[in-house]
């Protein structure tokens, strides 16, 4: 068996990111409060996206023989846009909950 080393790396990284995304989805489903639930998708947008981008860089660089950093563009875009979305959504949720008369953030 002569498996190229880069395929071993990619085959180890991709299911790891799948497991991270799956745990983020379970957090989205199981956490009891909206403001707790907001934490879960950050796992997919940061750790899993970094892992997939790294796997993609390793794979494409090993296949073409020259460094390929196109996946970094996706990481840059995600790390700019996701915090903005989260902030806007948190402010909207806070505004709506206070408008509805809920004490928010709720007491722990």
């Amino acid at each position: 068996m002569d498996i190229p080393w880069h395929e071993v790396v990619v085959a180890a990284l991709l299911p790891t990111s799948g497991a991270v995304v799956l745990s983020a989805a379970f957090g989205l489903l199981r956490l009891p409060d909206f403001f707790l639930r907001m934490h879960a998708p950050a796992l997919a947008a940061t750790l899993a996206a970094w892992i997939v981008a790294f796997a993609s860089i390793v794979h494409v660089s090993a296949r073409t023989g020259e460094p390929s950093l196109r996946a970094v563009l996706v990481i840059v875009l995600l790390s700019i846009t996701v915090p903005v979305t989260t902030m806007m959504l948190a402010r909207a949720a806070l505004f709506r909950q206070r408008l509805a008369g809920d004490p928010s953030p709720p007491p722990l």
């Binding site: 489903l29 979305t85 959504l89």
Partner: protein, 92 residues
């Protein structure tokens, strides 16, 4: 591509699809509008990751462009929905 890598890619895509289905459960269950927007945004992010994995699977650079587009449109739609929840209108 060795069978090991294609099995790993298949397992990853199955896990992503399962995560999307779980997020869809949250999207349909609610209970409030902001939960639905959060779940839709999560589905968009996972869709971007699916595009990156497909770029590895098919050895094609085209999927990077579609991943960028999905990230961009997901951002625009989520911000528009959050703005709508905040004010009741998107453009003031």
């Amino acid at each position: 591509m060795t069978p090991m890598l294609s099995v790993a890619i298949g397992a990853t895509l199955v896990m992503y699809a399962l995560a999307m289905l779980i997020a869809l459960v949250r999207l349909f269950r609610g209970p409030r509008a902001q939960d639905r927007v959060l779940a839709a945004d999560f589905v968009y992010v996972v869709g971007t990751l699916v595009m990156l994995v497909l770029a590895i699977r098919y050895d094609s650079g085209m999927y990077f462009e579609s991943a960028l587009l999905m990230a961009l449109f997901g951002f625009v739609s989520s911000v528009a929905l959050a703005k709508f929840l905040l004010r009741g209108e998107v453009i003031e």
